[in-house]
Subunit: 272 residues, 4 copies
């Protein structure tokens, strides 16, 4: 078997999704196990007792994970010309694709001593490995549902952003009112507008921790109005998404559910 | 009356739902009373004063209930060949059906001394009797509405599971960020990622007990963003279910159900 | 003018809604002022300082209100034969109509010394005068919107009740689990299943006061799952109502908005 | 260039939205920067340390802002006859338009010594400059989404107001019940109906700060029912808005907007 055949085979294993290809499925399972293990490691390492006792185990697992992900990353770059056959610079295109950047971000800090020394950044950075799960989850029967959910959110994106902007507007407004009203009475709870904004967000999202709340009559009056507006604020994104799903479901019902799917022209994956 | 006729009659009473059959309705009412009584007993027994005073009453009621449910369970197995007339092993099929397993689970522990000794497990186990209510609730005018609700949830199941997965993903992400940010400042509130996850769930579901919340500026900034994302997270399942009901109602509307009824806003009477 | 003409005129004033009739509008405004005044009185009387200072004012206002409402009630009974011209016993029919019973309930206790002595009951009872507002609000441009809202809620009633039943089921389930798990650790917060039910309701409705919450790991695990289920629980009634409005709006769009309205055959009101 | 040409040019810059006009865009950016700077100043000034240190900077920025906004206001009045060419009194019409009144409100208090002396009022008043953002946001790709959101809220306005009225009705009802039940036990938490109303709003909007909550069995029973009703109360505006978006999207879908786009779930690219 020459290099070209090897490359095609590796490409088949790490990128394509035939269903029949056993090696491809084993590879996916290994990657998935490493990702989930990585996440589990972040969670478990945060327990002081565990991190003291099994420190070495965590470190070895991390090294193995980074090694595998690095090899995978390099192989993906190597086989990028098969992924984008009509591109002039397929490798450059792949390196700057969203998923490849996430991949790099998840392994690079390990090789940078000044970052890897700080556990705090390392932990954050390892989180980016989660994005890899999206690639692995191409398998399974939930792809169709995931596609619908993603499509609805994307279609509603501009409306959602506008409603979030509206929401932020209302929040700032509420924060300034409450700061003006409550600051003279409880200066420790509402020391400035930013602290007041914290209250506004807790209230408008209806989380309501109860660490900060108005105690003056005027403050409570405005808080009551703001809470009621909060219902409307929540209603808008919910309404947008509900309408999106409604239209997605009804348009699917009309099309007959699987007539229009084939391959994504960008990444080559079978859509269903 | 020979055995076969007896069997057919018992089958009619415990399984079939004729509407005309009086014995069947009486049987359903008795079972329902025992289930509701069972649940009431769990609630009432939890009061120390009542459990001391009426301990014997609770015990006798429990024995009667288990006896009746055991007889019912055995009769259902006996008449299983009438329920699945074309099956080769109707009794085995019945025993391993979901409802029969729930039935067994709700009475079996009573006969196992090592479990029945521990009140804690017994209480949990008696809860499974609630499932029996589903069988009894076949009667009544809400069947149609229940069917619609169940059908919509079922149809939306894969989308709901995906959105729950998305939700869990965001929760884990939030938990790790908050742990990193808040742990150094309040190590007792955010001792590890699991504790931080508790905060993330309380916030993203907008429950907000107020037992754990960020106090640093960076922590509050992230908490604010996470709360806003929480609105979206709640919006997705709501939107999915709303769309499901929309499509269910509109497909019904085509059949002429209750889309064209109108009500007088003053007296509430149906108009046409 | 003879009795018949008087009766017809009074009927026109208190019941009909011509728009042109000036006396009718004045009458409506007086009744509305008395209702709103009544409610304001309940609110203001609850302030100890005001109830001491203006006790007599409140009492006089109450006597005037009850007097006017009593006269109105008697006039409505007197003119009931014009409201239900084809009924055999129009007065009896009116007396037992929902609105008339509410009217009676709102004035009767004032005449019963053993009730009117207890301020607590009296306050509750005066609340029923609010229902009268529905009759007054027949005017105004919000009638159409109110009609849509009421119609949607009514059409969705059976589905909403089922989802509430489902909700209660989940709540009881959650309460029993949390009682079992948390009672041994914090017996004061979870003394019995009823107290645990209070927690379950606070959590599943996402109110989350923070007076009761789990502290054990197992308890938090279940609480997390229950909170997530809570999102779904809220999503179901929201979805039902959203779908109801969707169908109401789209069916209106098709019908052309005002083709099918006339008079309610039960109370005689013009619908629009 | 004579006055008329000057006027036309200024009108083009401050009011029209050509896209090509560079001066117009620069003007918009300056105004936008001043608005955002104004809001940032309100937020930053609220920090005691910053307001002491950079007091002069804030004051100079405020003077510049007010000067620019005053000039803009006067220019808009001057060019009002180009905005309303067929009006008899275009300037009067403009002065009493909503946006012009907001503009006046945002600068006028600065010139009134008795108001500008009180920082509290000044801060509130400067908030009104936010409204100006609506005028600037005419640019950008989110205009379409904003128009949809505004249109849906407008169309649903009467229904939303009715549902808010219903909401207020339920709140008052709940407040009076809770006051009656809880006042004798915790007179400090529920001193009067207004304080009880604060609790009702916190509960029905599911904010649940946890500063006030029932402790009696009867109070908790009613609170539980009220919380459940709260779900329905939130569901109504959500449903209304969802239905509004559904109808807005489906009417757009007929025009061929973005109903038929599909996205690849792996890489996120639009497919067709």
């Amino acid at each position: 078997m020459n290099t070209k055949q090897w490359k095609a085979k590796i490409y088949d294993i790490i990128t394509k999704d035939d269903g029949d290809n056993r090696a491809s499925r084993v590879f996916d399972l290994i990657i998935m196990a490493l990702i989930l293990g990585s996440i589990a490691a972040i969670v478990l390492e945060s327990f002081d007792s565990l991190s003291e006792k099994y420190g070495t185990v965590f470190r070895v697992f991390e090294i193995v994970t980074v090694a595998v992900f690095t090899v995978e990353y390099l192989l993906r770059i190597w086989t990028a010309d098969l992924l984008y056959p009509q591109e002039k610079h397929p490798r450059l295109k792949y390196i700057f694709s969203f998923m490849a950047l996430m991949d790099l971000l998840a392994i690079l800090p390990f090789y940078l001593p000044f970052i890897s020394a700080d556990l705090r950044y390392l932990r954050m950075v390892r989180l980016f490995r989660m994005f890899r799960l999206f690639r692995v989850f191409k398998l399974g029967r939930y792809v169709d549902a995931l596609q619908t959910v993603v499509a609805v959110i994307r279609q509603s994106a501009s409306r959602l952003i506008i409603s979030m902007a509206l929401c932020f507007f209302v929040m700032l407004f509420s924060a300034i009112i409450m700061y003006t009203v409550e600051n003279p009475v409880q200066p420790e709870q509402f020391p400035n507008v930013v602290a007041s904004l914290w209250w506004a967000i807790c209230t408008l999202t209806t989380v309501g921790y109860g660490d900060v709340y108005p105690i003056t009559a005027v403050g409570r009056f405005f808080a009551a109005i703001i809470s009621l507006v909060g219902i409307g604020i929540i209603a808008i994104p919910t309404g947008i998404i509900a309408a999106g799903f409604s239209s997605a479901i009804s348009s699917k019902g009309a099309e007959g559910d699987d007539a229009h799917r084939s391959y994504c022209p960008y990444c080559g994956h079978k859509i269903r």
